[in-house]
Symmetry: C2
Subunit: 330 residues, 2 copies
């Protein structure tokens, strides 16, 4: 089954490849007779012609492919929703999105040997060597959550920190506002998440300091009922009355641990997660959580990508991208 080229279509419709290209691309400024146009379209359809992406990219000097590089850490429904929306957003502008998994297993540079993206969007910061390699390959790097202040179109680790801190701060302010005064932070056991956890924790600390509350206790809570119970026993003994969890999964472990040590939620201890995963509202008790407005985030990421590609100023980050969902656990 030989692949059909534009030359085949030209031959079949009795015109030149130029005309085929004009018709199929709807090139503006050309005037092809309706009859010719119809013949070309018919031939292309009949032969099942699909233009070669490689040739088109080579000739144009740029592709319409955007590669999203996923962080090293596990992906949940929130990121999935983000990717879906981003794909739809960018498709409206003629850009195709493809996602790279397995980051960290081998250098990103290997990928550029096999594919020529126009831009690469990172959900976590790139390191300088990666940035350099991309730019040398003519690829535009785009940072997620970058440009919150509208300043820097380049990936900036500090910008991530800002968004993450906001989450921690919101969690802490919620419990402090409900009269809880002895807070603990439940960090994830997965070390790949340590960076994010540290940033969210910084937000928690800031909120505690601002409210004049005690420094929060901190411990890793693995997704295991027994291990979680051990941590919760210590916390209960220390008089902890509120737990901020890194995300809903960690929060679920905290709920299991508290149950095991006989602490009542929310009477004795209030718990707040992050993400609003489906499991949150089904938990016992239903879990209060911080919801990231992922559609807003995706739309912004799409806007940042387009602005960066166009060389325009990066739009400011929308103000409210996180909000609290209060349920039975707080």
């Amino acid at each position: 089954m030989a692949v059909v080229t534009s030359a085949d279509v030209a031959r079949a419709s009795g015109v030149s490849r130029t005309t085929v290209s004009y018709v199929l691309n709807g090139t503006p400024g050309t005037t092809i007779s309706a009859a010719t146009r119809a013949r070309v379209l018919e031939a292309a359809e009949r032969l099942g012609y699909a233009p070669s992406a490689a040739a088109r990219t080579l000739r144009r000097g740029r592709s319409d492919l955007v590669v999203v590089v996923l962080p090293h850490w596990p992906i949940g429904p929130v990121v999935d929703a983000l990717l879906d929306r981003l794909t739809t957003d960018l498709a409206e502008r003629g850009l195709s999105v493809l996602v790279h998994h397995g980051r960290g297993r081998r250098p990103l540079a290997d990928l550029w040997r096999h594919v020529s993206p126009r831009a690469v969007v990172g959900l976590a910061p790139f390191d300088p060597a990666e940035l350099d390699a991309m730019r040398r390959a003519g690829i535009t790097p785009v940072g997620a959550l970058v440009g919150r202040d509208g300043r820097d179109p380049a990936p900036d680790p500090a910008a991530y920190a800002g968004a993450q801190e906001g989450i921690g701060r919101l969690q802490a302010e919620h419990l402090l506002g409900r009269g809880r005064s002895r807070l603990a932070y439940a960090a994830p056991a997965d070390e790949r998440l340590a960076g994010f956890a540290a940033q969210r924790l910084a937000g928690v600390r800031a909120a505690c300091a601002a409210a004049g509350a005690a420094h929060p206790l901190v411990a890793e809570v693995p997704p295991d009922p027994d291990a979680a119970a051990e941590v919760c026993r210590v916390w209960a003994a220390a008089g902890v009355d509120g737990v901020l969890a890194y995300n809903d999964e960690v929060a679920l472990a905290v709920l299991a641990g508290l149950r095991a040590v006989g602490a009542r939620v929310p009477e004795d201890v209030a718990v707040v997660g992050v993400d609003d995963e489906p499991a949150a509202r089904l938990a016992v008790p239903p879990l209060s959580t911080v919801q990231q407005e992922i559609e807003v985030e995706a739309d912004h990421l799409a806007a940042v990508t387009l602005a960066t590609l166009d060389g325009r100023a990066v739009p400011p980050h929308p103000p409210t991208s996180v909000r609290l969902v209060v349920r039975g656990s707080s």
Copy 2:
């Protein structure tokens, strides 16, 4: 920042582009002097040369890119793990994996205008029109879970059904084996999952029939405590003593619903999920579930992809890819 080409490297090292290509690709059968080789390598490194994937693909007539097309439905940690492993597996053979989200929003054919994959792996069956378009574009389609019987390297909806049915059968046999006789099937409310749910349900029905048990009751259980309670009330009244859930998320909803109507788990009703997501072991009570051995599945999918590309016979599916994890809920 002009992009560096092999001609630049040739000029900088005082050799022809031919020699640059030979050195950089380690082309076998060529004998380049060590001194020349070193000069070329040094120049490429110094200039930050990255070969053009588009040109290489055009020239070679094929790329080393494999695109995985995600199904229309929501992605959880299981699929994430599968993609990670598949990416690593295929990278060992020089293939790069990129993942397409947002299926169904627009035709896959649009994607082939922007990228030239060597193969496309579908986690759900392709429809005939898509298959046709891919083949005409010179792309090799590969079906997930295909070739279980080693017969058909082409995507085959029936092969999916086989794997899915096995899951439902395993769930049902477990509860029937524990003396439960009045089973119910908790289907997902998300209509995009209806196809899979129907296949798993078929396995449940087969197991019930084989054991001489009554036909299972069937209802959709949304991820909402109140809605789930409504369903569970009906089931409790009907004397249901065992519930098979489409996946862990649905099972969590069932647990919430049963709790709401005062049914004890597992004393009154046993519950079994699918996936072994982190939330399963943290549920109240900890959830029994069917675990898919996703690494095995990923390795097999990689093997199927390679065999299909090489025109070899597709390897048989490994025998045990699902297993039961028994916890407190059954």
